[in-house]
Symmetry: C2
Subunit: 320 residues, 2 copies
Protein backbone atom coordinates (compact mmCIF):
# COMPACT_ATOMS: atom_id res chain seq x y z
CA UNK A 1 0.00 0.00 0.00
CA UNK A 2 1.11 3.54 -0.66
CA UNK A 3 -0.28 7.06 -0.48
CA UNK A 4 0.14 9.05 -3.68
CA UNK A 5 -0.03 12.82 -3.80
CA UNK A 6 1.62 15.63 -5.77
CA UNK A 7 4.31 15.60 -3.07
CA UNK A 8 5.26 11.97 -3.60
CA UNK A 9 5.44 12.62 -7.34
CA UNK A 10 7.56 15.76 -6.96
CA UNK A 11 9.99 14.20 -4.48
CA UNK A 12 9.97 10.72 -5.99
CA UNK A 13 8.99 9.07 -2.72
CA UNK A 14 6.46 6.42 -1.80
CA UNK A 15 4.67 8.03 1.15
CA UNK A 16 3.95 11.73 1.77
CA UNK A 17 5.80 11.79 5.09
CA UNK A 18 8.80 14.03 5.79
CA UNK A 19 10.74 13.81 9.04
CA UNK A 20 11.45 17.23 10.51
CA UNK A 21 15.06 18.47 10.48
CA UNK A 22 15.19 18.70 14.28
CA UNK A 23 18.40 20.47 15.31
CA UNK A 24 20.81 18.10 17.05
CA UNK A 25 18.20 15.31 16.99
CA UNK A 26 17.59 14.45 13.34
CA UNK A 27 20.88 12.96 12.20
CA UNK A 28 21.69 10.76 9.26
CA UNK A 29 20.46 7.57 10.90
CA UNK A 30 16.97 8.98 11.44
CA UNK A 31 16.77 10.68 8.04
CA UNK A 32 18.08 7.56 6.32
CA UNK A 33 15.59 5.28 8.07
CA UNK A 34 12.65 7.49 7.12
CA UNK A 35 13.77 7.60 3.48
CA UNK A 36 14.35 3.85 3.38
CA UNK A 37 10.80 3.33 4.64
CA UNK A 38 9.43 5.36 1.74
CA UNK A 39 9.24 8.86 3.22
CA UNK A 40 11.84 11.59 3.00
CA UNK A 41 14.21 12.14 5.91
CA UNK A 42 15.68 15.57 6.55
CA UNK A 43 18.95 16.02 8.43
CA UNK A 44 18.76 18.84 10.97
CA UNK A 45 21.26 21.46 9.86
CA UNK A 46 20.23 23.44 12.92
CA UNK A 47 22.82 25.79 14.34
CA UNK A 48 25.28 24.73 11.66
CA UNK A 49 28.13 22.68 13.07
CA UNK A 50 29.93 21.68 9.83
CA UNK A 51 31.63 18.65 11.40
CA UNK A 52 28.36 17.30 12.81
CA UNK A 53 26.57 17.84 9.49
CA UNK A 54 29.28 16.04 7.50
CA UNK A 55 29.19 13.14 9.93
CA UNK A 56 25.43 12.87 9.53
CA UNK A 57 25.60 12.87 5.74
CA UNK A 58 27.91 9.89 6.15
CA UNK A 59 25.55 8.25 8.64
CA UNK A 60 22.71 8.47 6.14
CA UNK A 61 24.71 6.10 3.94
CA UNK A 62 23.21 5.54 0.54
CA UNK A 63 19.73 6.70 1.54
CA UNK A 64 18.37 9.60 -0.49
CA UNK A 65 17.76 12.28 2.11
CA UNK A 66 17.48 16.04 2.42
CA UNK A 67 18.58 18.66 4.90
CA UNK A 68 16.89 21.51 6.72
CA UNK A 69 18.31 24.80 7.87
CA UNK A 70 17.25 27.52 10.27
CA UNK A 71 17.21 30.38 7.80
CA UNK A 72 18.39 33.14 10.14
CA UNK A 73 21.37 30.98 11.14
CA UNK A 74 22.24 30.33 7.51
CA UNK A 75 22.64 34.07 7.04
CA UNK A 76 25.78 33.97 9.20
CA UNK A 77 27.13 30.76 7.64
CA UNK A 78 26.11 30.75 3.98
CA UNK A 79 28.86 28.29 3.02
CA UNK A 80 26.86 25.59 4.80
CA UNK A 81 24.35 25.63 1.96
CA UNK A 82 27.08 25.00 -0.64
CA UNK A 83 28.47 22.18 1.49
CA UNK A 84 24.99 20.66 1.70
CA UNK A 85 24.30 21.00 -2.02
CA UNK A 86 27.57 19.19 -2.76
CA UNK A 87 25.89 16.11 -1.26
CA UNK A 88 23.16 16.36 -3.90
CA UNK A 89 20.28 16.35 -1.41
CA UNK A 90 16.80 15.43 -2.59
CA UNK A 91 15.51 18.58 -0.93
CA UNK A 92 16.62 21.52 1.18
CA UNK A 93 14.19 22.91 3.70
CA UNK A 94 14.41 26.46 5.03
CA UNK A 95 12.45 27.76 7.99
CA UNK A 96 12.39 30.80 10.28
CA UNK A 97 13.56 33.66 8.09
CA UNK A 98 13.46 34.95 4.53
CA UNK A 99 14.21 32.06 2.16
CA UNK A 100 14.41 34.19 -1.00
CA UNK A 101 18.23 34.63 -1.11
CA UNK A 102 18.79 30.86 -1.20
CA UNK A 103 16.10 29.43 -3.44
CA UNK A 104 17.83 29.87 -6.79
CA UNK A 105 20.98 28.03 -5.63
CA UNK A 106 18.89 25.18 -4.27
CA UNK A 107 16.92 24.79 -7.48
CA UNK A 108 20.05 25.11 -9.63
CA UNK A 109 21.57 22.21 -7.72
CA UNK A 110 18.58 20.03 -8.61
CA UNK A 111 17.13 19.93 -5.13
CA UNK A 112 13.52 20.69 -4.21
CA UNK A 113 13.29 23.90 -2.17
CA UNK A 114 10.93 23.34 0.76
CA UNK A 115 9.93 26.47 2.67
CA UNK A 116 8.31 26.20 6.07
CA UNK A 117 6.04 29.09 7.07
CA UNK A 118 3.82 29.94 10.01
CA UNK A 119 1.32 32.31 8.38
CA UNK A 120 -0.65 32.74 5.19
CA UNK A 121 1.24 35.93 4.39
CA UNK A 122 4.62 34.19 4.64
CA UNK A 123 3.29 31.30 2.54
CA UNK A 124 2.44 33.74 -0.24
CA UNK A 125 5.88 35.36 0.00
CA UNK A 126 7.69 32.01 -0.14
CA UNK A 127 5.63 30.88 -3.12
CA UNK A 128 6.34 34.12 -4.96
CA UNK A 129 10.06 33.72 -4.19
CA UNK A 130 10.06 30.34 -5.91
CA UNK A 131 9.55 27.66 -3.27
CA UNK A 132 8.83 24.18 -4.61
CA UNK A 133 6.92 23.01 -1.55
CA UNK A 134 5.34 24.98 1.30
CA UNK A 135 5.22 23.53 4.81
CA UNK A 136 2.42 25.15 6.82
CA UNK A 137 3.58 24.79 10.41
CA UNK A 138 1.18 25.42 13.25
CA UNK A 139 2.09 26.38 16.79
CA UNK A 140 0.99 22.93 17.95
CA UNK A 141 4.47 21.82 16.83
CA UNK A 142 7.31 20.88 19.12
CA UNK A 143 10.46 22.91 18.74
CA UNK A 144 10.40 26.37 17.27
CA UNK A 145 7.17 27.80 15.94
CA UNK A 146 5.00 30.88 15.98
CA UNK A 147 1.38 31.57 16.88
CA UNK A 148 -1.20 30.18 14.45
CA UNK A 149 -2.68 26.73 14.98
CA UNK A 150 -2.28 23.99 12.39
CA UNK A 151 -5.96 23.22 11.84
CA UNK A 152 -7.08 26.40 10.10
CA UNK A 153 -3.65 27.33 8.75
CA UNK A 154 -3.32 24.34 6.44
CA UNK A 155 -6.44 24.85 4.27
CA UNK A 156 -5.80 28.61 4.20
CA UNK A 157 -2.27 28.02 2.89
CA UNK A 158 -3.59 25.51 0.35
CA UNK A 159 -5.91 28.22 -0.94
CA UNK A 160 -3.15 30.82 -0.93
CA UNK A 161 -0.41 28.93 -2.79
CA UNK A 162 -2.12 26.13 -4.70
CA UNK A 163 -1.33 24.29 -6.89
CA UNK A 164 2.03 24.29 -5.09
CA UNK A 165 2.13 21.22 -2.80
CA UNK A 166 1.45 22.10 0.84
CA UNK A 167 2.71 19.97 3.71
CA UNK A 168 1.03 20.11 7.13
CA UNK A 169 3.24 20.37 10.20
CA UNK A 170 2.56 20.81 13.89
CA UNK A 171 0.62 18.20 15.82
CA UNK A 172 0.84 15.32 13.35
CA UNK A 173 1.56 12.37 15.63
CA UNK A 174 0.01 9.43 13.84
CA UNK A 175 -1.76 8.39 10.67
CA UNK A 176 -4.97 10.16 11.65
CA UNK A 177 -3.09 13.44 11.37
CA UNK A 178 -1.79 12.43 7.96
CA UNK A 179 -5.30 11.49 6.85
CA UNK A 180 -6.68 14.79 8.15
CA UNK A 181 -3.96 16.73 6.34
CA UNK A 182 -4.77 15.00 3.05
CA UNK A 183 -8.49 15.65 3.56
CA UNK A 184 -7.67 19.34 4.07
CA UNK A 185 -5.98 19.42 0.69
CA UNK A 186 -2.40 19.12 1.90
CA UNK A 187 -0.09 16.85 -0.09
CA UNK A 188 1.67 15.39 2.93
CA UNK A 189 2.93 15.94 6.45
CA UNK A 190 6.15 16.90 8.20
CA UNK A 191 6.54 15.06 11.49
CA UNK A 192 8.87 15.99 14.33
CA UNK A 193 7.81 14.90 17.82
CA UNK A 194 6.81 11.37 16.81
CA UNK A 195 10.30 10.83 15.30
CA UNK A 196 11.95 12.45 18.36
CA UNK A 197 10.79 9.31 20.18
CA UNK A 198 12.33 7.01 17.57
CA UNK A 199 15.24 4.70 18.12
CA UNK A 200 17.43 6.60 15.64
CA UNK A 201 16.84 10.12 17.01
CA UNK A 202 19.74 11.76 18.83
CA UNK A 203 17.67 12.70 21.87
CA UNK A 204 18.61 11.16 25.22
CA UNK A 205 16.97 7.86 26.13
CA UNK A 206 15.42 9.64 29.10
CA UNK A 207 13.93 12.36 26.88
CA UNK A 208 12.48 9.75 24.52
CA UNK A 209 10.88 7.85 27.39
CA UNK A 210 9.49 11.09 28.75
CA UNK A 211 8.03 11.92 25.33
CA UNK A 212 6.33 8.53 25.20
CA UNK A 213 4.75 9.10 28.62
CA UNK A 214 3.74 12.75 28.27
CA UNK A 215 0.48 14.52 27.38
CA UNK A 216 0.19 17.46 25.03
CA UNK A 217 -1.63 19.16 27.90
CA UNK A 218 1.79 19.76 29.44
CA UNK A 219 3.81 21.67 26.86
CA UNK A 220 4.75 25.33 26.67
CA UNK A 221 6.12 27.77 24.12
CA UNK A 222 8.88 29.78 25.75
CA UNK A 223 12.20 31.51 25.18
CA UNK A 224 13.88 30.14 28.31
CA UNK A 225 15.72 27.24 26.68
CA UNK A 226 16.95 29.49 23.87
CA UNK A 227 18.32 31.89 26.47
CA UNK A 228 20.22 29.22 28.39
CA UNK A 229 21.58 27.79 25.15
CA UNK A 230 22.62 31.23 23.92
CA UNK A 231 20.51 31.20 20.76
CA UNK A 232 19.19 34.66 19.88
CA UNK A 233 15.96 33.63 18.19
CA UNK A 234 14.07 36.50 16.58
CA UNK A 235 10.38 37.18 17.26
CA UNK A 236 7.87 35.65 16.88
CA UNK A 237 9.57 32.27 17.23
CA UNK A 238 9.63 30.43 20.52
CA UNK A 239 10.47 26.85 21.46
CA UNK A 240 7.74 24.40 22.46
CA UNK A 241 8.93 21.78 24.95
CA UNK A 242 7.39 19.77 27.73
CA UNK A 243 6.75 21.80 30.86
CA UNK A 244 9.19 20.76 33.57
CA UNK A 245 10.95 22.21 36.60
CA UNK A 246 13.16 24.34 34.35
CA UNK A 247 10.26 26.00 32.50
CA UNK A 248 8.26 26.39 35.73
CA UNK A 249 11.23 28.14 37.34
CA UNK A 250 12.21 30.48 34.53
CA UNK A 251 9.25 31.07 32.18
CA UNK A 252 7.90 34.47 33.17
CA UNK A 253 11.15 35.27 35.01
CA UNK A 254 13.31 35.84 31.94
CA UNK A 255 15.14 38.85 33.39
CA UNK A 256 16.19 36.82 36.44
CA UNK A 257 17.30 34.01 34.13
CA UNK A 258 19.42 36.39 32.09
CA UNK A 259 20.96 37.79 35.29
CA UNK A 260 21.93 34.30 36.48
CA UNK A 261 22.77 32.94 33.05
CA UNK A 262 26.36 31.78 33.66
CA UNK A 263 25.47 29.67 36.68
CA UNK A 264 22.33 28.38 35.02
CA UNK A 265 24.31 27.35 31.96
CA UNK A 266 26.70 25.29 34.03
CA UNK A 267 23.80 23.53 35.75
CA UNK A 268 22.06 23.09 32.42
CA UNK A 269 25.10 21.42 30.84
CA UNK A 270 25.23 18.97 33.74
CA UNK A 271 21.51 18.24 33.40
CA UNK A 272 21.88 17.57 29.68
CA UNK A 273 24.82 15.24 30.31
CA UNK A 274 22.83 13.39 32.96
CA UNK A 275 19.66 13.13 30.85
CA UNK A 276 17.68 14.97 33.52
CA UNK A 277 14.36 15.68 31.84
CA UNK A 278 13.19 18.04 34.59
CA UNK A 279 16.01 20.43 33.69
CA UNK A 280 17.08 19.57 30.13
CA UNK A 281 14.65 20.31 27.29
CA UNK A 282 12.31 17.61 26.03
CA UNK A 283 11.54 19.16 22.67
CA UNK A 284 8.18 17.77 21.69
CA UNK A 285 4.84 19.34 20.87
CA UNK A 286 1.15 18.84 21.40
CA UNK A 287 1.18 15.50 19.59
CA UNK A 288 2.69 14.04 22.77
CA UNK A 289 -0.51 12.16 23.67
CA UNK A 290 -0.17 10.20 20.42
CA UNK A 291 3.36 8.99 21.24
CA UNK A 292 3.24 5.86 23.33
CA UNK A 293 6.52 4.09 22.61
CA UNK A 294 10.04 4.53 21.31
CA UNK A 295 10.19 2.65 18.01
CA UNK A 296 12.39 2.39 14.91
CA UNK A 297 11.67 5.27 12.54
CA UNK A 298 10.92 2.98 9.61
CA UNK A 299 8.30 1.19 11.63
CA UNK A 300 6.76 4.55 12.55
CA UNK A 301 6.45 5.44 8.86
CA UNK A 302 4.75 2.14 8.12
CA UNK A 303 2.36 2.52 11.05
CA UNK A 304 1.49 6.04 10.01
CA UNK A 305 0.64 4.97 6.47
CA UNK A 306 -1.51 2.06 7.67
CA UNK A 307 -3.33 4.28 10.15
CA UNK A 308 -3.87 6.96 7.52
CA UNK A 309 -5.43 4.50 5.12
CA UNK A 310 -7.76 3.23 7.84
CA UNK A 311 -8.67 6.80 8.80
CA UNK A 312 -9.31 7.88 5.21
CA UNK A 313 -11.54 4.87 4.58
CA UNK A 314 -13.42 5.50 7.81
CA UNK A 315 -13.85 9.15 6.89
CA UNK A 316 -15.21 8.47 3.44
CA UNK A 317 -17.36 5.73 4.99
CA UNK A 318 -19.37 8.51 6.67
CA UNK A 319 -20.78 9.52 3.30
CA UNK A 320 -24.29 8.10 3.22
CA UNK B 1 -26.26 13.31 0.38
CA UNK B 2 -25.64 13.12 4.09
CA UNK B 3 -22.80 12.40 6.49
CA UNK B 4 -23.58 9.74 9.06
CA UNK B 5 -21.63 9.38 12.28
CA UNK B 6 -22.38 8.33 15.86
CA UNK B 7 -23.16 12.00 16.51
CA UNK B 8 -25.90 12.19 13.88
CA UNK B 9 -27.40 9.01 15.31
CA UNK B 10 -27.25 10.23 18.90
CA UNK B 11 -28.71 13.65 18.14
CA UNK B 12 -31.10 12.50 15.44
CA UNK B 13 -29.71 14.94 12.87
CA UNK B 14 -28.72 14.62 9.24
CA UNK B 15 -25.27 16.23 9.22
CA UNK B 16 -22.63 16.23 11.99
CA UNK B 17 -22.46 20.01 12.19
CA UNK B 18 -23.27 21.99 15.34
CA UNK B 19 -23.35 25.77 15.37
CA UNK B 20 -21.51 27.22 18.35
CA UNK B 21 -23.61 28.91 21.05
CA UNK B 22 -21.88 32.27 20.55
CA UNK B 23 -22.92 34.65 23.30
CA UNK B 24 -25.07 37.47 21.99
CA UNK B 25 -24.56 36.29 18.40
CA UNK B 26 -26.18 32.87 18.12
CA UNK B 27 -29.86 33.56 18.57
CA UNK B 28 -32.89 31.53 17.62
CA UNK B 29 -32.82 32.51 13.95
CA UNK B 30 -29.27 31.18 13.50
CA UNK B 31 -29.81 28.05 15.57
CA UNK B 32 -33.09 27.35 13.81
CA UNK B 33 -31.59 27.77 10.35
CA UNK B 34 -28.76 25.38 11.14
CA UNK B 35 -31.17 22.77 12.48
CA UNK B 36 -33.50 23.17 9.52
CA UNK B 37 -30.56 22.53 7.20
CA UNK B 38 -29.84 19.23 8.95
CA UNK B 39 -27.29 20.22 11.59
CA UNK B 40 -28.00 21.19 15.18
CA UNK B 41 -28.15 24.85 16.11
CA UNK B 42 -27.30 25.96 19.62
CA UNK B 43 -28.64 29.19 21.11
CA UNK B 44 -25.94 31.13 22.94
CA UNK B 45 -27.00 31.27 26.58
CA UNK B 46 -23.87 33.33 27.21
CA UNK B 47 -24.01 35.70 30.14
CA UNK B 48 -27.58 34.67 30.88
CA UNK B 49 -30.04 37.39 30.10
CA UNK B 50 -33.35 35.53 30.71
CA UNK B 51 -35.39 37.88 28.52
CA UNK B 52 -33.00 37.55 25.58
CA UNK B 53 -32.92 33.78 25.93
CA UNK B 54 -36.72 33.49 25.99
CA UNK B 55 -36.98 35.70 22.93
CA UNK B 56 -34.49 33.51 21.08
CA UNK B 57 -36.34 30.30 21.92
CA UNK B 58 -39.35 31.94 20.30
CA UNK B 59 -37.27 33.03 17.31
CA UNK B 60 -36.18 29.43 16.73
CA UNK B 61 -39.84 28.65 16.05
CA UNK B 62 -40.53 24.98 15.56
CA UNK B 63 -36.93 24.08 14.78
CA UNK B 64 -35.40 21.49 17.11
CA UNK B 65 -32.43 23.31 18.63
CA UNK B 66 -30.23 23.23 21.71
CA UNK B 67 -28.64 25.80 23.97
CA UNK B 68 -25.16 26.38 25.30
CA UNK B 69 -24.09 27.92 28.56
CA UNK B 70 -20.85 29.34 29.96
CA UNK B 71 -20.54 27.03 32.94
CA UNK B 72 -19.00 29.50 35.37
CA UNK B 73 -21.83 31.95 34.63
CA UNK B 74 -24.44 29.26 35.21
CA UNK B 75 -23.09 28.86 38.75
CA UNK B 76 -24.50 32.29 39.61
CA UNK B 77 -27.79 31.76 37.77
CA UNK B 78 -28.70 28.08 38.06
CA UNK B 79 -32.38 28.73 37.35
CA UNK B 80 -31.42 29.45 33.74
CA UNK B 81 -30.83 25.73 33.23
CA UNK B 82 -34.33 24.86 34.44
CA UNK B 83 -35.80 27.54 32.19
CA UNK B 84 -33.88 26.08 29.25
CA UNK B 85 -34.88 22.50 29.99
CA UNK B 86 -38.53 23.56 30.06
CA UNK B 87 -38.14 24.20 26.31
CA UNK B 88 -37.16 20.54 25.82
CA UNK B 89 -33.89 21.29 24.01
CA UNK B 90 -32.30 18.59 21.89
CA UNK B 91 -29.04 19.23 23.71
CA UNK B 92 -27.47 21.45 26.32
CA UNK B 93 -23.82 22.36 25.92
CA UNK B 94 -21.65 23.44 28.82
CA UNK B 95 -18.23 24.98 28.46
CA UNK B 96 -15.64 26.78 30.60
CA UNK B 97 -16.07 25.31 34.05
CA UNK B 98 -16.95 22.09 35.86
CA UNK B 99 -20.03 20.56 34.19
CA UNK B 100 -20.56 17.82 36.77
CA UNK B 101 -23.22 19.58 38.90
CA UNK B 102 -25.54 19.98 35.90
CA UNK B 103 -25.27 16.77 33.91
CA UNK B 104 -27.85 14.70 35.75
CA UNK B 105 -30.55 17.36 35.35
CA UNK B 106 -29.81 17.65 31.64
CA UNK B 107 -30.00 13.91 31.09
CA UNK B 108 -33.12 13.58 33.22
CA UNK B 109 -34.82 16.13 30.98
CA UNK B 110 -34.09 13.99 27.93
CA UNK B 111 -31.47 16.32 26.47
CA UNK B 112 -28.01 15.28 25.31
CA UNK B 113 -25.32 16.77 27.57
CA UNK B 114 -22.54 18.18 25.42
CA UNK B 115 -19.38 19.18 27.30
CA UNK B 116 -16.78 21.36 25.63
CA UNK B 117 -13.21 20.95 26.91
CA UNK B 118 -9.81 22.36 26.04
CA UNK B 119 -7.52 19.59 27.31
CA UNK B 120 -7.29 15.82 27.44
CA UNK B 121 -7.48 15.90 31.22
CA UNK B 122 -10.74 17.87 31.19
CA UNK B 123 -12.13 15.54 28.52
CA UNK B 124 -11.54 12.58 30.82
CA UNK B 125 -13.19 14.40 33.73
CA UNK B 126 -16.24 15.35 31.66
CA UNK B 127 -16.62 11.80 30.36
CA UNK B 128 -16.39 10.39 33.89
CA UNK B 129 -18.99 12.92 35.06
CA UNK B 130 -21.44 11.59 32.47
CA UNK B 131 -21.18 13.78 29.37
CA UNK B 132 -22.97 12.43 26.32
CA UNK B 133 -20.76 14.22 23.79
CA UNK B 134 -17.32 15.81 24.21
CA UNK B 135 -16.37 18.87 22.18
CA UNK B 136 -12.58 19.14 21.90
CA UNK B 137 -11.99 22.86 21.38
CA UNK B 138 -8.61 24.10 20.25
CA UNK B 139 -7.22 27.58 20.77
CA UNK B 140 -7.58 28.22 17.04
CA UNK B 141 -11.23 29.03 17.89
CA UNK B 142 -12.74 32.46 17.88
CA UNK B 143 -14.26 33.58 21.14
CA UNK B 144 -13.16 32.09 24.42
CA UNK B 145 -10.67 29.28 24.49
CA UNK B 146 -7.53 28.09 26.17
CA UNK B 147 -4.09 27.03 24.93
CA UNK B 148 -3.96 23.73 23.07
CA UNK B 149 -4.31 23.62 19.29
CA UNK B 150 -7.14 21.73 17.63
CA UNK B 151 -5.04 19.48 15.40
CA UNK B 152 -3.42 17.23 18.03
CA UNK B 153 -6.12 17.72 20.66
CA UNK B 154 -8.89 16.03 18.68
CA UNK B 155 -7.31 12.58 18.17
CA UNK B 156 -5.96 12.64 21.73
CA UNK B 157 -9.46 13.27 23.09
CA UNK B 158 -10.87 10.55 20.84
CA UNK B 159 -8.38 8.14 22.41
CA UNK B 160 -9.15 9.39 25.91
CA UNK B 161 -12.96 9.21 25.89
CA UNK B 162 -13.92 6.84 23.07
CA UNK B 163 -16.42 5.45 22.29
CA UNK B 164 -18.10 8.66 23.43
CA UNK B 165 -18.66 10.86 20.35
CA UNK B 166 -16.06 13.63 20.06
CA UNK B 167 -16.75 16.86 18.18
CA UNK B 168 -13.88 18.99 16.84
CA UNK B 169 -14.02 22.74 17.43
CA UNK B 170 -11.61 25.58 16.75
CA UNK B 171 -10.59 26.43 13.21
CA UNK B 172 -13.30 24.55 11.33
CA UNK B 173 -14.25 27.03 8.61
CA UNK B 174 -15.37 24.86 5.75
CA UNK B 175 -16.00 21.28 4.67
CA UNK B 176 -12.29 20.47 4.58
CA UNK B 177 -12.19 20.98 8.33
CA UNK B 178 -15.22 18.72 8.73
CA UNK B 179 -13.57 16.07 6.55
CA UNK B 180 -10.33 16.34 8.53
CA UNK B 181 -12.20 16.01 11.81
CA UNK B 182 -13.96 12.85 10.63
CA UNK B 183 -10.64 11.41 9.40
CA UNK B 184 -9.20 12.07 12.87
CA UNK B 185 -11.94 9.97 14.41
CA UNK B 186 -14.19 12.81 15.50
CA UNK B 187 -17.92 12.35 14.98
CA UNK B 188 -18.59 15.91 13.90
CA UNK B 189 -17.66 19.56 14.22
CA UNK B 190 -18.79 22.61 16.14
CA UNK B 191 -18.50 25.76 14.05
CA UNK B 192 -18.47 29.33 15.33
CA UNK B 193 -16.67 31.88 13.17
CA UNK B 194 -18.13 30.69 9.88
CA UNK B 195 -21.68 31.15 11.29
CA UNK B 196 -20.71 34.53 12.83
CA UNK B 197 -20.56 35.69 9.20
CA UNK B 198 -24.02 34.31 8.42
CA UNK B 199 -27.07 36.36 7.63
CA UNK B 200 -28.88 35.18 10.77
CA UNK B 201 -26.10 35.90 13.28
CA UNK B 202 -26.62 38.82 15.64
CA UNK B 203 -23.23 40.40 14.89
CA UNK B 204 -23.18 43.83 13.29
CA UNK B 205 -23.19 44.00 9.49
CA UNK B 206 -19.81 45.71 9.73
CA UNK B 207 -18.37 42.90 11.87
CA UNK B 208 -19.66 40.26 9.45
CA UNK B 209 -18.11 42.06 6.48
CA UNK B 210 -14.84 42.41 8.38
CA UNK B 211 -14.90 38.66 9.15
CA UNK B 212 -15.37 37.89 5.46
CA UNK B 213 -12.38 40.05 4.54
CA UNK B 214 -9.97 39.05 7.33
CA UNK B 215 -7.10 36.58 7.58
CA UNK B 216 -6.47 34.25 10.50
CA UNK B 217 -2.98 35.76 10.55
CA UNK B 218 -4.53 38.75 12.29
CA UNK B 219 -6.27 37.41 15.39
CA UNK B 220 -5.24 37.53 19.03
CA UNK B 221 -6.20 35.86 22.30
CA UNK B 222 -6.53 38.54 24.95
CA UNK B 223 -8.41 39.59 28.06
CA UNK B 224 -8.91 43.20 27.00
CA UNK B 225 -12.43 42.85 25.65
CA UNK B 226 -13.52 40.90 28.72
CA UNK B 227 -12.17 43.71 30.89
CA UNK B 228 -14.04 46.43 29.05
CA UNK B 229 -17.22 44.38 29.07
CA UNK B 230 -16.85 43.65 32.77
CA UNK B 231 -16.73 39.86 32.46
CA UNK B 232 -14.43 38.27 35.04
CA UNK B 233 -13.30 35.26 33.03
CA UNK B 234 -11.21 32.79 35.01
CA UNK B 235 -7.84 31.53 33.80
CA UNK B 236 -6.91 30.03 31.41
CA UNK B 237 -9.68 31.36 29.18
CA UNK B 238 -9.13 34.33 26.92
CA UNK B 239 -11.10 35.74 24.00
CA UNK B 240 -9.84 35.39 20.44
CA UNK B 241 -10.88 38.27 18.20
CA UNK B 242 -9.48 40.04 15.19
CA UNK B 243 -6.58 42.33 16.01
CA UNK B 244 -7.68 45.93 15.65
CA UNK B 245 -6.89 49.34 17.09
CA UNK B 246 -8.50 48.38 20.39
CA UNK B 247 -6.37 45.26 20.92
CA UNK B 248 -3.24 47.05 19.69
CA UNK B 249 -3.84 49.84 22.20
CA UNK B 250 -4.69 47.76 25.26
CA UNK B 251 -3.27 44.25 24.93
CA UNK B 252 -0.14 44.23 27.07
CA UNK B 253 -1.34 47.39 28.86
CA UNK B 254 -4.05 45.78 30.93
CA UNK B 255 -3.28 47.77 34.08
CA UNK B 256 -3.67 51.03 32.17
CA UNK B 257 -6.92 49.74 30.71
CA UNK B 258 -8.25 48.90 34.15
CA UNK B 259 -7.25 52.36 35.40
CA UNK B 260 -9.16 54.04 32.57
CA UNK B 261 -12.01 51.56 32.46
CA UNK B 262 -14.97 53.92 32.96
CA UNK B 263 -13.98 56.21 30.11
CA UNK B 264 -13.03 53.27 27.91
CA UNK B 265 -16.41 51.67 28.54
CA UNK B 266 -18.25 54.75 27.40
CA UNK B 267 -16.18 54.90 24.22
CA UNK B 268 -16.63 51.18 23.72
CA UNK B 269 -20.42 51.40 23.98
CA UNK B 270 -20.41 54.11 21.32
CA UNK B 271 -18.16 52.01 19.07
CA UNK B 272 -20.45 49.00 19.42
CA UNK B 273 -23.49 51.12 18.59
CA UNK B 274 -21.70 52.52 15.54
CA UNK B 275 -20.44 49.13 14.32
CA UNK B 276 -16.86 50.40 14.48
CA UNK B 277 -14.80 47.24 13.93
CA UNK B 278 -11.53 48.93 14.89
CA UNK B 279 -12.86 49.43 18.43
CA UNK B 280 -15.67 46.89 18.90
CA UNK B 281 -14.79 43.20 19.02
CA UNK B 282 -14.95 41.09 15.88
CA UNK B 283 -15.14 37.72 17.58
CA UNK B 284 -13.78 35.28 15.05
CA UNK B 285 -10.88 32.83 15.08
CA UNK B 286 -8.15 31.52 12.85
CA UNK B 287 -10.65 30.12 10.34
CA UNK B 288 -11.05 33.71 9.11
CA UNK B 289 -9.20 32.99 5.84
CA UNK B 290 -11.88 30.45 4.98
CA UNK B 291 -14.73 32.97 5.35
CA UNK B 292 -15.25 34.89 2.15
CA UNK B 293 -18.86 35.95 2.25
CA UNK B 294 -21.86 36.54 4.48
CA UNK B 295 -24.39 33.87 3.59
CA UNK B 296 -27.54 32.27 4.99
CA UNK B 297 -26.66 29.70 7.66
CA UNK B 298 -28.55 26.90 5.94
CA UNK B 299 -26.58 27.49 2.77
CA UNK B 300 -23.36 27.33 4.82
CA UNK B 301 -24.38 23.93 6.20
CA UNK B 302 -25.06 22.62 2.72
CA UNK B 303 -21.77 23.96 1.37
CA UNK B 304 -19.86 22.43 4.25
CA UNK B 305 -21.38 19.01 3.66
CA UNK B 306 -20.67 19.14 -0.08
CA UNK B 307 -17.09 20.28 0.51
CA UNK B 308 -16.56 17.58 3.14
CA UNK B 309 -17.70 14.87 0.78
CA UNK B 310 -15.38 16.14 -1.92
CA UNK B 311 -12.51 16.34 0.56
CA UNK B 312 -13.12 12.85 1.95
CA UNK B 313 -13.25 11.37 -1.53
CA UNK B 314 -10.06 13.20 -2.50
CA UNK B 315 -8.35 12.00 0.65
CA UNK B 316 -9.24 8.37 0.15
CA UNK B 317 -8.30 8.80 -3.50
CA UNK B 318 -4.67 9.13 -2.35
CA UNK B 319 -4.66 5.44 -1.43
CA UNK B 320 -2.80 3.69 -4.24
Amino acid sequence: MALRTPLTTLLGIEHPILSAPMAGVAGGALAGAVSQAGGLGLIGGGYIDPDWIEREWAAAGNARVGIGFITWRLEAAPAALDAALAHRPAAVMLSFGDPAPYLERIRAAGAVAICQVQSVADARRAAEAGAGVIVAQGADAGGHGAGRGTFALVPAVVDAVGPLPVVAAGGVGDGRGLAAALAMGAAGVLVGSRFYASREAQASPQAKDRAAAASGDHTIQSSVYDRVRGFAWPAPFRLRTLRNRFTERWHGSEAALDDAIEAVRADYARAVAAGDTEEAAVVIGEAADLIRDVAPAGELVRRMVDEAETALRAGSGCIA
